[in-house]
Symmetry: C2
Subunit: 291 residues, 2 copies
């Protein structure tokens, strides 16, 4: 039982499934932590403070005691990182590892997906491209300079949605969502739901992504826009609130990058690279369709 806190109750589920969500190199501990991170990320982008969660586990027959302990460690990691309480769960036998996180929390107001207006500033809480680069390393043998490689792989194995930044920003966001299916998908979703377009004038590319792409024959823009597993908040703020929002993000230990503007061209999402305009396709991860 969970004590009722002020505000409205928020309720969310997110299921991690081994063969799509657990890349090679990810431990059970990391997988368990990630299952919770997926929920936390959504709470952060909506400005809701998570309170408690439950875990439904599907375990392969033959799962060792040690693997079960690893899962417990991963859940404790999450509890420690985001200050949420694990209040129960259910354990089952399954053909592959399944970790479903059900999370509840409270919010005075949820940041909507449909609140952007033309003229709003498009913002993100961090650079993109690390997780897709890390996935290319873990799954396709891409090589990277040591430090970049560590950052990229860790962004996949130990995703760190910034809950405090999300909560601090929420009062200033007219619309927002996380980017777990990629930046392009988030932009198109916000555009569609808010009935606006977006002109992106700054590519929020992580340091080293360009070099990593070049040396592995990859398209750096694809790594930035079309990847998944990103845990950055994508949103909009009124121009007049931008400075306050930036200060709020910094005070919470994060940052806020302006990357463009909402337009009245409904559904049109494009990149304006110093005057050269090109459409940003609605690419990203869709379950049951593949990439």
């Amino acid at each position: 039982m969970v004590p009722l806190l002020p505000g409205k109750l928020v309720f969310k589920v997110d299921m991690l499934v081994e063969h799509t969500d657990v890349p090679p190199g990810m431990t059970y501990r990391q997988a368990a932590r990630k299952a919770v991170a997926m929920c936390v990320s959504d709470f952060a982008s909506k400005g809701a403070r998570p309170d408690s969660f439950m875990i439904s586990l599907g375990l392969r027959r033959g799962t060792t005691r040690r693997q079960v302990d690893d899962i417990a460690h991963g859940l404790r990691d999450a509890v420690g990182t985001w200050g949420v309480h694990l209040v129960g769960g259910d354990t089952n036998e399954a053909e592959e590892l399944v970790i479903d996180c059900a999370m509840i929390g409270f919010a005075k107001r949820l940041v909507p997906r449909e609140g952007a207006s033309p003229g709003d500033i498009l913002v993100v809480t961090g650079p993109f491209g690390y997780p897709p680069s890390g996935l290319k390393m873990l799954m396709a043998g891409a090589r990277a300079e040591a430090k970049f490689g560590r950052v990229a792989k860790s962004s996949v194995l130990e995703p760190s949605p910034s809950l405090e930044v999300g909560l601090a920003l929420a009062p200033y966001l007219t619309s927002a969502m996380d980017s777990s299916d990629g930046l392009a998908r988030s932009l198109h979703t916000l555009a569609r739901e808010s009935k606006v377009g977006f002109e992106v004038t700054l590519v929020p590319m992580g340091a080293g992504v360009q070099d990593f792409a070049s040396s592995n024959g990859l398209d750096p823009l694809q790594l930035v826009f079309d990847g998944g597993e990103e845990y950055v908040i994508v949103g909009t703020v009124k121009k007049a609130k931008l400075r306050t929002a930036k200060e709020a993000a910094q005070k919470a230990g994060g940052r806020l990058l302006e990357i463009g503007t909402a337009t009245s061209d409904e559904g049109r999402v494009e990149l304006n690279n110093k005057g050269k305009v090109s459409p940003i396709a609605d690419a990203g991860w869709t379950h049951l369709a593949g990439r």
Copy 2:
């Protein structure tokens, strides 16, 4: 977002996994309804009114549109049967069908598992043995007389935990739990948690279970005590409250059967069949261990 109702918040997850929870003959529609029934059953036994639920789906690649529609129908069946609200979910690709139900609700007081005292009357809200018989028919080719067969199979395919009976009884129960892992398991769990024993003096055998067992070479007591998938509430009431509790159950459309007494023989669960005393083993369904 869910409006806050009076009382305390109750939160529960239950995962249905195809290869253990979906017997041959169960449709996707029935599987989806069952996933919700599993949660409702627990709420009913604890006297908590469920308000809302979310569903995380793991779907095999190749799942048809029709199967997805069937799942949606099953969820609607559950919404209609128990008056709960489906408020969201998550869809994924998985190696087998996985339906995880996360449910929240409200209660003034939860009926505990540890509240039984020696002298309390042991009660159940219905007879046992239909689901294990139905499973023997669906999975092992057991044969039955037509009407019994329909009842037994339907108890597996469309389990019907009685939410209203559970809510009506809750104020009178000193301890309770559902019997999804079988009657024997419930008795041992309540005994362990309440630090009591149970003397069972009436075997709550469903009509026709004896004949079904005989004609299929099965042990009728095993069908009653050691099966799983039962959705009957097992609990205890003070002797002085028994009559009121029975009336409450009847008023809610159900019934309450006295089957024995709680004793001070901690952990000892036995059947006293007209003076012939035999232990009831802690049998039942344990995940990852098999039967």
